[in-house]
């Protein structure tokens, strides 16, 4: 119980920091908007009219934004260390897992707020969601956020300062935009890229979100809309999540204590 309260307190701190930072709120909304409006529009003619490409991109960007926001939010672990704040948390009598999970939960809440804003943009652009689709998209969104946080943790556990984080993250995330199929189809990649795509963690939450939003729509039958089965997406996410959490926490704690 005490650990749960600690997790809630750590998570609430991150959410509060986000809500008090108008510039950060604005900047996290600009990128998805640019992606959806410009890239969705630019790629559409290449595909043909039969397929609503803007929805495809919007859903992809929705999952990608939440996953990435949560992952990059974990930079705050390093930021806290540099600001000497983490030492105050690390001397508290709570589990190291509670600390790390509280961080991931906090950044997930931030990412969910961003996801909600993207859905709002989508609705303004003409996206229509049924009750079933929403009911499926919310858990898919939560999964994307938590999984993104776990990915962020394992990356951060190996990084010493914010500057390195800023150099490493684009390198790890940009290729995944294409390998995960955020605004492109990944069904007919060359065999090398196909393997790379299967190794891209971002692919699975993106695909899972499309399964959720396309549920009951004609797109769910189309080969170009979905990359893997929802079951496979969930299974891969579950395995990687546990792996990232256990190894990431262990590495992070060791790095904090063994200098």
């Amino acid at each position: 119980m005490r650990q749960l309260h600690a997790i809630a307190a750590i998570a609430a701190r991150d959410l509060l920091k986000f809500l008090r930072d108008p510039l950060r709120i604005a900047s996290t909304l600009v990128f998805p908007l640019v992606f959806i409006v410009i890239l969705g529009g630019a790629f559409a003619p290449m595909i043909g009219d039969a397929f609503d490409f803007r929805t495809f991109v919007l859903v992809g960007v929705l999952a990608q934004t939440m996953w990435q926001s949560s992952a990059m939010g974990l930079v705050s672990l390093i930021e806290d260390r540099e600001n000497d704040f983490s030492q105050a948390i690390f001397v508290a009598p709570i589990s190291r897992y509670a600390i790390v999970f509280g961080k991931i939960l906090g950044e997930s809440l931030v990412a969910l707020a961003q996801g909600a804003a993207i859905v709002l943009i989508g609705l303004l652009l003409g996206l229509r969601l049924t009750g079933t689709q929403i009911a499926l998209a919310v858990p898919a969104a939560i999964i994307a956020c938590l999984f993104g946080g776990a990915f962020g943790l394992i990356v951060m556990a190996n990084i010493r300062n914010q500057r390195t984080a800023q150099q490493v993250f684009p390198f790890l995330i940009l290729p995944q935009f294409f390998l995960a199929g955020v605004f492109n189809q990944i069904q007919d990649l060359s065999s090398f890229l196909r393997v790379m795509s299967l190794m891209s963690p971002m692919r699975y939450p993106v695909d899972l979100m499309r399964h959720a939003v396309y549920a009951g729509r004609p797109e769910s039958e189309r080969a170009e809309a979905l990359a893997s089965s929802a079951t496979m997406d969930l299974a891969v996410i579950a395995v990687l999540f546990v792996l990232f959490m256990v190894v990431g926490t262990a590495l992070f704690v060791r790095r904090e204590q063994n200098r």
């Binding site: 609430a12 701190r13 105050a88 001397v91 508290a92």
Partner: protein
């Protein structure tokens, strides 16, 4: 008083503080175990070629004010980091409140409060939000997303502490707007809210103005008196250490001196008498000193400057001063006793060990 050398510090050699006001007599008798026990502690940082802490041993009695002194890089912060579980030792044993830092880190953490060298507040949160986060992490209260939703007991406790330290008007302001002194006060409130047995203070007054420093110490003394909290201090201000029950001086990762402030002063720095007389009487004075088997030295021009201009430096124990002066017939023009300050002692000890190591 011990002047200890190198790695051969035996825990049994560590005496209870002399002139201690707070340490209970029963503790001296060994009825209560020390609240902090450090045994042959070694820390070598990754990739370093020398030990940052090199076989340090000491014990702190309950209720004591214990001061860890030493120049920058002596190993003070490393030691305090290990004691507070944020750094893993390379070898050696450390117990806080009877709990081993390696095996029972959570028990140690619950017993300890810490004021870090660098303020460790979240500047984006308000003062109260910082305190609330801490209170929840220490399991005192469940988390509620607002001050008004927290239990009355919490609000009372925070209100009282803030009132004592005079920051009650600023509780709901972002910490970003706080002065250095206010941040320190806030950290103290935060570190005491779970009523720790030992409060670790790593250079708590560095960068504070004299007024803030004074009020902070007044409050710490009060905490010590009322709650019997053991204070474990590292500082560069020797007048702060002067009030300690035990002073432990570190140099190059080793304990070079440990004991009460008076012991550290008296055993390590000589007290001496400075004498002088008219130039024509100097031979007579030399003869008199020689006849009384007194050891003296005539100070060089460099050593004699300003007010401290006397020529003869006589090494003499305090109780012999009077007898010696009575016995001298030569008319003296200067009689000065030199009583070392803790700073003299500290500098002498540290310089001495550094020379030896070099």
């Amino acid at each position: 008083m011990n002047v200890v050398d190198g790695n051969n510090v035996d825990r049994g050699d560590v005496h209870p503080p002399m002139g201690s006001t707070a340490a209970l007599d029963s503790d001296r008798d060994g009825v209560h175990p020390p609240v902090v026990m450090v045994d042959n502690l070694v820390k070598r940082y990754d990739g370093a070629s020398v030990n940052a802490v090199d076989g340090v041993s000491f014990a702190v009695q309950p209720g004591e004010l214990f001061a860890l002194l030493g120049p920058n890089g002596a190993g003070k912060t490393t030691t305090i980091s290990i004691l507070t579980t944020t750094l893993r030792p390379t070898s050696g044993r450390v117990e806080i409140g009877g709990h081993d830092v390696a095996d029972a880190a959570d028990r140690v953490r619950a017993e300890a409060g810490i004021i870090f060298q660098q303020p460790s507040l979240d500047l984006n949160l308000t003062a109260e939000e910082n305190i609330r986060l801490h209170a929840v992490l220490y399991g005192l209260y469940g988390f509620r997303p607002g001050y008004r939703l927290m239990p009355a007991a919490y609000r009372t406790q925070v209100g009282e502490l803030a009132d004592i330290l005079g920051i009650e008007d600023d509780l709901f302001k972002p910490v970003r707007t706080f002065s250095g002194g206010m941040k320190r006060k806030l950290e103290i409130i935060r570190s005491l809210i779970h009523k720790p047995r030992v409060l670790f203070l790593d250079e708590p007054t560095t960068g504070l103005d004299p007024q803030s420093r004074r009020s902070l110490w007044a409050y710490l003394r009060q905490v010590r008196k009322e709650a019997g909290t053991t204070l474990f201090l590292t500082t560069h201000y020797l007048e702060e250490a002067e009030r300690a029950d035990t002073i432990c001086i570190l140099s190059n990762g080793r304990v070079v001196s440990i004991g009460g402030p008076d012991d550290v002063k008296s055993d390590l720095v000589e007290r001496y008498l400075l004498l002088d007389c008219a130039p024509e009487h100097r031979d007579a004075l030399r003869a008199e000193l020689a006849s009384r088997d007194v050891v003296w030295r005539e100070r060089s021009q460099d050593e004699r400057d300003g007010e401290d201009a006397a020529r003869f430096r006589v090494d003499v124990a305090r109780r012999e001063i009077h007898a010696l002066l009575k016995a001298i017939d030569t008319p003296l023009t200067v009689v000065q006793t030199h009583t070392p300050t803790l700073e003299d002692a500290y500098l002498q000890i540290v310089e001495h060990t550094m020379e030896e190591d070099a």
